[in-house]
Amino acid sequence: MLNLEHLSKTYADGTRALSDINLSVREAEIVALIGGSGCGKTTLLRLIAGLDRASAGTIRLDDEVLSGPHPAIGIVFQEPRLLPWLTVSDNIAFGLDGVSAAERKARVAHALEKIGLVEHADRWPRDLSGGQQQRVAIARAFVTNPKVLLLDEPFSALDAFTRASLHEHLLGLWEETRPIVVLVTHDVQEAVTLADRAIVMQPKPGRIFDELSLSLARPRDKSGLPFESSVRRVLSALDQSLNPPQKQPQREKDRQAAALWW
């Protein structure tokens, strides 16, 4: 169980990136954080990953208060961030320093198989496509068996086709150990495809606007009616977050326009 309590972050220049975030994530739950840019989504993940310090509030993982990078928390950044001097398999094994050589080899081999890059094991990252590199980054985070996996718009730079296949790879890896996943995205389809719950965020200061449950059965049928209606629900929540109702009497019209735009 991952608990964020009254989490706030104000940067040195006075930017209030996050203000009073409260969130509980159950075991094995996949949560999508949605919101326009500048909502503090990246900031939130960096706080959980221990790469930045919160100005106030606590982050708790199973009763343990986190204060810095933690072995049970893995992160995949927006860019693959592979180490260019390591081969694909050495990149995947990067976080497995404390593991025996045999175990390391087995885990890397398994991960390579899961992401479908077995034949690329001994290549350099520069010889892979963007989507393949991002798969390696995901595998690198998964092989340490984290309890919490943080994903910061990991698919945003990829084309729709590659993205769909990466969703499957991600779910395939997730099924094995079922960690908590916090996925940042600005793609509503992606959120509904992957997540059990969508958290809609608002900027200035970054805060949670709304939460929607997306409890559809897996595997999800993207052309089905429940999927469509979930997408519409998230879109309308997102729209409301952009146009707070009390200021916008014409909300219905705007919502339609926004839905078209999205």
Binding site: P69, I75, F77, W85, T87, D90
Partner: protein, 285 residues
Amino acid sequence: MTGQAQSHAWSSHKGAAALAAPPLAGKKRQAFDWRILLGFLLPIAIALLWEAAVALGLAQGRLVPPPSRIAATLLALAETGELWTHVWATLWRILIGFVIGAAAGIAIGAVSGTSTTMRRLLDPTLQALRAIPSIAWVPLFILWLGIFEESKVALIAVGVFFPVYLGIAGAILSVDRKLVEVGHVFRLSRTQLARRILLPAVLPEALIALRSGLGLGFMFVVAAEFMGASEGLGYLLVDGQQMGKPDQILAAIIAFALLGKIADSLLVYGTKPLVRWQDTVRERL
């Protein structure tokens, strides 16, 4: 940035490179590109023309001897063993000077690249010293260290030090913060971070810095040997001037060119496995 850590990471690179070699090797091996030989055409043509001009009596060839005479001089020097004495003397000076200068450049560059405080402390002074043309140190070095080997090696070391220092410090400062964060995520200690992320990340630029250091080493060995030496290729140059033997001067120049090229190639090819992962950049060098 200890030597131990360095050798460790280097060997692990070699391991990684060896692993990756088989699938890449097959692809990379291409037919020999004969167009490379085009570069030889101009110097050979000029040499042949000059040779012909002297042979036909169109030119005297006293101040600019024809290639055949230069070759004969080189051969004679080699046969008497004189050439090897000079080559060895010069190479030895460069080697000692290069090792001292490069070691100091790496150590101080690493300190000033990793610690802001140390950089504030050291860098201004070093930058000021760098502004002095290194040859200007010669009189002082002779006063301090005498006219024999020490002052020559010191001059070469100074020449090697600055490009290496600048290259190493700059390389460390420009390491991608995003990759360092990957190290933080996996909770690497400071030494692990240095060995597993910083060192490999700076390696390509560090090798370029060492290369320019070596080049300057060759430049300064000539200057050092000009200031009074009884052996060395630089001595052959001075001797050839004083004795009016242009063929000896040209023979020494050719020896310098060959040695410089060989040393540079040894450095490049000897370290190639370490940076195979980014050889695209090196091919442009």
